[in-house]
């Protein structure tokens, strides 16, 4: 066990856990966050995605002891129900989900790819989402919402 200090969604939080604990369990069980979720535990599906710095990380395979001081953003850190991030707003407007379990992987991955390359094409966006799975197959709406956000962002 060790005291580990994390920067999560703009706050500093200290937890006392085994440093080998996957970051996902700490976010869910110690910090009561709901955005990242356990999908596979093998970094294969994206449900546990968080943003660290400027890239996405699969928190189910990231030991909490290896996180360091880097800022972590989860889906709920991106925006709030009262003030959603514009990408979340586009998803709300397009109704781009069914069960919604996949959304951390979908939304956070799309945000990072567009942060890096605001003029990303649909093909670029799809390539970035190649490791993300939506089993309800809300693909049509998901890509429409991302395109809507990308276009509005460039305008």
């Amino acid at each position: 066990m060790a005291a580990i200090t994390l920067r999560v969604n703009g706050q500093t939080r200290t937890v006392n856990v085994d440093p080998a604990t996957p970051l996902l369990y700490v976010l869910n069980d110690d910090l009561d966050l709901r955005g990242p979720r356990f999908g596979c535990g093998m970094a294969q599906c994206g449900a546990c995605t968080v943003i660290m710095g400027d890239h996405v990380v699969r928190s189910c395979v990231k030991p909490v002891g290896a996180v360091g001081a880097e800022e972590i953003t989860t889906l709920e850190g991106l925006g709030t129900p009262e003030k959603p991030h514009p990408l979340q707003q586009a998803f709300i407007e397009e109704g781009a989900a069914q069960c919604g379990f996949c959304l951390s992987g979908v939304i956070l991955t799309a945000k990072t790819v567009l942060d890096v390359n605001p003029s990303a094409t649909d093909q670029d966006i799809r390539n970035a989402l190649g490791g993300v799975i939506c089993r309800c197959f809300a693909h049509t709406r998901i890509l429409r919402a991302i395109r809507k956000y990308a276009d509005a962002r460039r305008a």
């Binding site: 856990v17 294969q44 129900p81 069914q98 069960c99 089993r135 197959f137 049509t140």
Partner: protein, 768 residues
């Protein structure tokens, strides 16, 4: 934190405190999967379905729950519409055995037909509105006829008004559901039938939504299961010392063949589950996957005749043109994105289970059996999980969470691993289907013989069969054995709930013809055999398998008859709603008539084709026709759908945006199941247990265009809709591949190697 029904009503200052909770001892299990069952909440009583509080807000109670398909929003719209109150004034409580009526399972595209037609929730809201009008009429001292109701206010001709809460707020109606209560006419709908944005949207997109995975209870511990290394293994011994050094381990739980670990944290539990040494006695060898379909015919089987006109063999023997074909459909996984999870808090005399099951009441009864507790001491609170698409691991994980919590005497949150989920689920059935049919010189089907083999084991546990899923079996309950037997002659109604009977058969049983088509000489025989794995409903259970074989075969018949596939279908159909969607889709998709595969080739080595398929889902629960435009890479064998056009008739539409979402998702899920999804196994176990070994079309997939045409006849009842589009997808794609290439693909999934093999041996259709 878990209010009782009493609290729901008291919370708003209501006087409603005398809710009748008769003992459920001796309670009868329900008499049908989809009906409303006898329970402590009497579904005949209006107060069981809704309450109007002192502040005018409404709480409605439903036994049909939302797992992402949009039924929460649609039912809220329904109550708001029938009661004439604003949508935001209605709070819906779904599938909590303490407070909601028992409506069995939320499954089989039955939620809309069950709750939106003249019964159950819809009838309750209509009964309540009429009761309120009557109360207002008494208040005003005038007849009901001259009263208007809008936004929970009743107004008379002279402008006097009274609010609902002043008539009944916080009190019981004390009425039974009134079969004579009038529904609000569809032309007057202001909330129902509108594209109300799904009510869970903002919480989902901003990461606030509570899934069952997030339920936390004070004192809660974390569990993991330890599955056997092979199917059919039995437990020899558990070496407790192998995990004695795992920090935070609370207990190794062993019961019959069930092994699990409980620890203070998820990390500890996962660590202990990996480390625990268990000795298992291996089970019998699994049948070879390569020869699996051939082996089905050699198994003892339970047979059923859906139809038998008794003249089919004779007609086939003398027919001039006979077409025959054999189709196979693999086992497929639900593959929920989130591995299943449940939280159980079992105390000495009571238990609460937070579960994503589709079957709250049945799960309550099974958990009670496993805990040795009366059913009325167990409460199951439905809490949404990852999309399930049928019987995923939600029931299994709920049973085991309960047993583990009972064993350690503390609340336990049990989280399955990916392998626990995909290696042991109730897979969608594999199926082998053989078809033979005769044609006359006029291109009319004169006889049709259809025989299928369906491996099956377990299914939904229902109220008393926990052994129908893996956890119940490990805990000592066997799934019911297959009882081999010959088929009896069909009697009574043609049900066709699994779409076994092709649409083109007249469906005559004892002079009563209830099929959608015109072919009188027909035999439809099914053989159920023992499956090596658990099986269970997966979105469009057996309907997708059967429709694939039926709708491909009718294309093969059209080719032999020298007829266009649409015209050939229309020639043999008589069901007008099915005819209407077929015509609508042909028009919308600009169907190109052909009597042979067109084999259009593009410059880049692609062949392009168009195929069609249609279905009357479950015989009469929704109508759909789909046209697929696909490209086939003649070198690699890759199939890429470019466009789908679907026409769908599901009666009155509750929420067209929600329906579109279901139709789009169904087509793409159907595409994934057509092209890549297949459970694999070796001699001992299922080997497709993660997202490398079980394929799914990911978000990088080049999605085809999807165009939806709603066909909305007047004066018909609401049907299911969520499973229609997926049902027709595999056949529409296969028929398009044939049009593109002249190669007939009869085995799902349509992998590149199968396409290449079919291209190499293409013979312009079925074997004559």
């Amino acid at each position: 934190m878990n209010p009782s029904r009493r609290d729901f009503l008291k919370g708003t200052g209501a006087l409603v405190v005398s809710f009748r909770a008769a003992s459920v001892f001796g309670m009868q299990a329900g008499d049908g999967q989809f009906g409303t069952h006898a329970s402590h909440i009497n579904a005949e009583e209006l107060d069981s379905w809704l309450a109007i509080h002192a502040d005018g807000s409404v709480t409605a109670f439903t036994g049909k729950c939302d797992f992402g398909q949009g039924i929460y929003t649609a039912q809220t719209q329904l109550v708001a519409e029938e009661l004439c109150v604003a949508l935001e004034r209605v709070k819906l409580v779904q599938c909590d055995t303490e407070v909601t009526p028992d409506q069995g399972s939320t499954s089989g595209s039955q939620s809309t037909p069950t709750n939106f037609n003249h019964q159950n929730l819809a009838l309750a809201a209509a009964t309540a509105r009429e009761a309120l009008l009557k109360l207002a009429a008494e208040r005003f001292g005038e007849p009901v006829d001259g009263l208007r109701v809008e936004n929970a206010v009743v107004t008379n001709a002279s402008g006097q008004h009274v609010r609902y809460e002043d008539l009944i707020g916080g009190k019981h109606f004390n009425l039974t559901l009134d079969r004579a209560a009038r529904r609000r006419p569809q032309v007057e709908w202001t909330v129902l039938g509108k594209s109300v944005p799904s009510l869970d949207r903002t919480a989902l997109m901003t990461g606030q939504f509570e899934f069952v995975h997030h339920v936390r209870v004070p004192g809660m511990l974390h569990g993991r299961v330890v599955r056997p290394p092979a199917i059919g293994s039995t437990l020899i011994s558990v070496d407790q010392t192998s995990v004695k050094d795992v920090p935070g381990l609370v207990k190794v739980v062993v019961r019959k063949n069930f092994v699990g670990v409980v620890a203070e944290t998820q990390h500890s539990a996962a660590h202990a589950a990996r480390k625990l040494k268990v000795d298992w006695k291996p089970g019998p060898k699994l049948p070879s996957q390569a020869s699996f379909f051939d082996s089905l015919k050699e198994q003892p089987s339970r047979d059923a005749l859906e139809l038998d006109s008794t003249d089919v063999a004779a007609r086939l023997a003398t027919a001039k043109h006979v077409v025959r074909a054999r189709y196979t459909y693999p086992f497929q996984a639900h593959g929920s994105l989130g591995a299943s999870c449940a939280v159980a808090d079992v105390k000495a005399g009571s238990a609460t289970i937070w579960s994503a099951t589709q079957s709250a009441y049945p799960t309550r009864n099974c958990v009670a059996m496993l805990l040795g507790m009366p059913a009325d001491k167990v409460r199951v609170i439905y809490t949404r999980g990852s999309g399930c698409y049928g019987l995923n691991g939600a029931d299994a994980v709920s049973f085991e969470a309960a047993v583990m919590s009972q064993d350690v005497g503390q609340p336990v949150r049990l989280q399955f691993s990916r392998q626990d989920e995909m290696g042991w689920e109730n897979y969608g059935n594999a199926c082998l289907i053989e078809q033979r049919a005769a044609l006359d010189d006029a291109g009319r089907i004169t006889a049709w013989d259809r025989e299928s083999w369906i491996p099956n084991m377990g299914s939904r546990p229902g109220y008393d069969r926990p052994g129908n899923v893996i956890s119940g079996m490990l805990l000592g309950y066997e799934p019911p054995p297959l009882r081999p037997g010959k088929a009896a002659e069909p009697t009574g109604e043609l049900r066709n709930g699994s779409n076994t009977v092709p649409e083109y058969m007249a469906g005559c049983i004892q002079d009563k013809c209830q099929g959608n088509g015109t072919v009188n000489a027909a035999r439809v025989l099914t053989h159920t055999v023992r499956s090596p794995f658990f099986t269970g409903p997966l979105r469009s259970p057996l309907r997708i398998q059967n429709t694939f074989a039926n709708e491909c075969f009718v294309d093969e018949l059209a080719l032999k008859a020298g007829a266009d596939p649409v015209e050939f279908r229309l020639k043999h159909l008589q069901q007008q709603r099915l005819v209407a969607v077929l015509k609508a889709v042909a028009t919308a998709a600009k169907w190109q008539k052909r009597v042979a595969p067109r084999k259009q080739t593009l410059a880049n080595g692609l062949a392009r084709g168009q195929g069609i398929a249609c279905v009357a889902y479950e015989g009469r629960n929704g109508y759909a026709a789909l046209v697929a435009d696909v490209d086939v890479d003649l070198t690699s064998g890759l199939v890429q759908p470019r466009r789908f056009v679907i026409a769908i008739d599901c009666g009155p539409i509750s929420n067209s945006d929600g329906l579109r979402n279901q139709v789009e998702g169904g087509i793409l899920q159907g595409t994934s199941r057509s092209l890549v999804e297949e459970v694999t196994w070796d001699e001992q176990r299922v080997t497709s247990t993660d997202w490398e070994s079980y394929q799914t079309l990911r978000l990088d997939y080049e999605i085809p265009e999807i165009e939806i045409v709603f066909v909305t006849p007047e004066g018909v009842a609401a049907t299911g809709a969520g499973e229609t589009s997926i049902t027709v997808t595999p056949a529409a794609i296969a028929n398009a591949i044939f049009d593109a290439t002249g190669a007939r693909i009869r085995d799902v999934p349509f992998t590149p190697s199968r396409i290449k093999a079919a291209l190499a041996t293409r013979s312009e259709g079925a074997i004559a």
